[in-house]
Structures are given as structure tokens and as C-alpha cells.
């Protein structure tokens, strides 16, 4: 189980990203962290990953710190390395023997549908394929916990849906625990079991919505109903009001995803 209680984080530039952020996640859960841009979702994810330390509050991780896979909004690949070498990075950093690392990385690429593209360089791949390499890299080390930071936000809708379905399949096959940061109501309603709705900055969890079963497709009544629930919660969290008044500063927040 992962538990955050009363977590606060303020950046050096004075921006208070999170205040009193609390939530828990069970093993094997698929949880979405949803909120307006700039509400501290990415910061929360980095805290869970251990890339940032909280100023206040506690973050409880499972015994023996689980293997973590991390996927960014951008593919964040090494442009000088081919797909296989990119997917192999976590294994190389752990000094696994080259042969074993190659096998695992190739298997991870195959699982995201990139068999035959091992020797392709990032610049030769489409945006969706680059994101698949990024996911393969996250899978290569055999993680228990997968953290995704708006991974599909920069993709077109068709690619986004295909990758979403792949993510669901991988989650089931590997019994992963997934924390999925997104600002898409439709994405969270279909993919996740629970949605944590965050308030605008300084962010904390305003609503914890357990979604009903039976969301087997993006258009099933249960999915649509879930979207309504999430939108309502988002509204009550004050997200829309702030989004409207903040639209002028939107570009600023994009550059500074705190």
C-alpha cells in the first residue's frame, strides 16, 4: 500500500504546489490523479517516485521500496540511441549483463507492439511509437508500480485510445499498481478504478471517486455515468472557475508544470 498523508510542497520560487495532500492506494489498483493544469499533479507523482522530498507530511511506501516505472508526458528518449538501447536504459543502469538486458528490452518492446523496431532511432518513429518506447523502457525493469505523468496528452485521439487500451492490458497482465496523472475526464473514466480529483494550486485531493464496474468500452453507459461524476467533482473542486481566470496564464503554467 502507498499512503500520502498531509503532504505539502513549496518550490524555491515561492509557489506552493501542494497543501495537505492525502490519499492511499492499494496494491494492484489503477488510480487516476485528475485536476486542472498547474494543480500539482506532476509534483505529487514526483514525490511518490522519490524524485522530490516533501516539505511536510509523510509518504508511506510498501516494504522494500518497489521497482518503479516512470513515463513522462514527453517520450524523453535518448535521441542518439536506438529503441532497444532506450528501452534497456534501466537495466544498463543496474549493470545487468548485456545479453540478458537485450532480451528483456526486446521483450518489453514486443509487448508494446514494437517488434522489429529495435534498431530504429527516435527520430525515425512517430509520436505514438516514441511513447511506446517510453512505456517499454518503464516496463523493462519489471516494475510493480507504474507512474505516468499525462503520458498521452501530446498524442492524437486515435493513438491515445490505442495506447490506453494497451496500458489496460499491461496493467492486467502484470498486476501493476498504476498512478495515472491526467487532465482528461474521458481518459480517467475509462482507464482507472478510482479517480482522485484535485483542487487548483495549492493542490489537495477534493474527491475520491470509486468508479462503477462495467466500463468495458469508452461508450458504455457506466463510462458515461463515470464521466458525469468526475466532471461534477471537478466542478465542485473549483477547477473550472480557476481554469477560466487562469487561461491568460496557461502558457506560463505549461512551462512550469508545478
Amino acid at each position: 500500500m502507498i499512503a500520502l498523508s498531509g503532504v505539502g510542497k513549496r518550490f524555491a520560487n515561492g509557489v506552493e504546489a501542494l497543501r495537505d495532500l492525502s490519499f492511499t492506494m492499494g496494491a494492484g489498483e489503477f488510480v487516476s490523479l485528475l485536476g486542472p493544469s498547474g494543480c500539482g499533479k506532476s509534483t505529487a507523482l514526483r514525490l511518490v517516485a522519490g524524485l522530490l522530498a516533501p516539505d511536510s507530511g509523510k509518504i508511506l511506501m510498501p516494504e522494500g521500496k518497489p521497482e518503479i516505472g516512470f513515463v513522462f508526458q514527453e517520450p524523453t528518449l535518448m535521441p542518439w540511441a536506438d529503441a532497444l538501447t532506450n528501452a534497456r536504459l534501466p537495466l544498463d543502469l543496474k549493470n545487468l549483463p548485456r545479453g540478458e538486458a537485450n532480451d528483456k528490452a526486446a521483450a518489453a518492446l514486443a509487448r508494446v507492439g514494437l517488434k522489429g523496431f529495435e534498431r530504429a532511432y527516435p527520430r525515425e518513429l512517430s509520436g505514438g511509437m516514441k511513447m511506446r518506447v517510453s512505456i517499454a523502457r518503464a516496463l523493462a525493469a519489471g516494475p510493480k508500480l507504474l507512474l505516468l505523468d499525462e503520458p498521452f496528452a501530446a498524442l492524437d485521439e486515435i493513438t491515445r485510445n490505442a495506447l490506453g487500451d494497451d496500458l489496460l492490458r499491461l496493467w492486467r497482465e502484470d498486476q501493476l499498481t498504476v498512478l495515472f496523472v491526467t487532465h482528461s475526464v474521458s481518459e480517467s473514466s475509462y482507464l482507472s478504478q478510482r479517480v482522485l480529483v484535485m483542487t487548483p494550486r495549492p493542490g489537495h485531493v477534493k474527491a475520491d471517486i470509486a468508479l462503477p464496474a462495467g466500463r468495458d468500452s469508452r461508450l458504455s453507459p457506466q463510462t458515461i455515468e463515470s464521466q458525469r461524476l468526475i466532471s461534477q467533482a471537478l466542478n465542485e473542486a473549483g477547477a473550472l472557475r480557476v481554469a477560466r481566470s487562469d487561461s491568460v496564464r496557461a502558457s506560463d503554467q505549461k512551462r512550469n508544470p508545478a
Binding site: 514526483r46 517516485a49 522519490g50 524524485l51 518503479i68 516512470f70 513522462f72 514527453e74 524523453t76 535518448m78 535521441p79 542518439w80 540511441a81 536504459l89 534501466p90 544498463d92 543502469l93 543496474k94 532511432y121 527516435p122 527520430r123 525493469a141
Partner: protein
Amino acid sequence: MRRLLDIAMPLLVALLVLGGWEWAVAHWQVPVYVLPAPSAIARALADNFLSLMTSLLSTLTVTVEAFLAASVLGITTAIAFSQSRLLERTLYPYAVILQVTPVVAIAPLILIWVGFERINLALTIIATIVAFFPILAGATLGLKSADFNLTDLARLYGASRAQILWRIRLPTALPYLLSGMKTAGGLALIGAVVAEFVAGSGTATGLAWRIVESGNRLEIATLFAALALLAATGIVIFAALSLLEWALLRRWHESAISRQS
């Protein structure tokens, strides 16, 4: 077709200029000690071929050694800077001072300190100082340009500083470094020539000294021949480093990829 034009057009210009030059010298009967005709320069080159080649070898040795020394020093200093912000802040101003002080002004000091009996070492040191900065600047900028998310990811997987340096920072820095090295290659040659000029008579044996000597003797054709060899050396150095850049970056860097339309 475009490649052919890239070579043919400059060549055509060269032929036109040389032909016009040859014609003008003959037509106005310009004295050979003012402006020798290209044919006279070619003759001077042929007559003094062995001694000019010996001089070329001398200058080239200094240039290459200085370039290699500047590369090693520049890269290691940049790596040290990338590992310690404090070190960078402390020492970078001095690197800049070294860069902005005209090397002609420091050269006599270095010659005295190193001693005229070790003239080639002195020349190499002077040329190294000239070539050092662009490599340091390029490598420093490049090492800093690594994607923050990528380095964060590496830290997440427990990477050591050395691993991040080797797997992420150095490859990121490569295009910047190569660009600095291309500039440094030409500067190393300039540094070698300037150093020879300052060293003066009796000690240096390189092409720059041949230029001074030929000038004093009014052997202007030989002067031009030495000058042409220097220019050719500069071009070869630049071409070699461009080739190296292309070979290392062609698979992945935008600068080395010809866009498919």
C-alpha cells in the same frame, strides 16, 4: 546534382580568379616582388618543395598536438565543471580571461619561461591556449544541456553520477563539443602561426617563419607558396573535423540529417 554544384561552383571561381590574376600580372607587367603570378608561385612551390614540406610538417605537428592537448584539457575541465557548480563559478572567469587576453601578448612570456631550447613545446603551449576555449565552452554548454527528465529517470533507477555523465550527459554534449572542436581546429593553426611569428628568427622552422623569411628576402613567390600551404592545411583540418562530426552524428542529430522532402 547539388553536391556536384557545391564542388564545381567554388572551383570555377578559383579558376576564374587564378586565370584573371595570371593575365593581369602579365598584362601590367607587375614586378614579381610585388605580386607574383600563380604560375610563379607554383614554380616556387616546386623548387622549394622539400624544405616547404619540412616546414609544413613542423607547423602541422604543433597544430595537431595543440589541438589534442586543448581537446583533452577542455573536455576534462568541462567534466569537472559539470560535477561541481562551485568549481565552475570559481574557475570559469579565469578561462574567459585567458580567452580574451590576446595570445600575442602572452606568447613572449611563455617563450621565455619554457625556453628557446624547447621551442616546439612553447609553440604548442601557445597554440593550445588559443584553441582551448571553444572546446571548454562547447563541452560545458553541452554537458549542461541534458534533459532534466532523463537525468531524473536515471536517478530513479539508482544511477551514479558517473553513469549519468557517461550515458546521458556526454552523448548530449557531443554535438556542442564537436562544434567547439571545429572552431578549435582552425584556432590551433592560427595559434601555431602566431607563436612562430613571435618566436622569430633562428628558432622556429614552420611555415610562418618561412613567410617572415621570404618576406625579408623579397622572395614573394615563396611567401605565397607557404601561404597557400597554410590555407590548404586549414581547409584540410576543417574538412577532417566536419567528417568526424558527420560520422558521429549522422544517425540521430538534426544538423547531420538531410531533410527528406
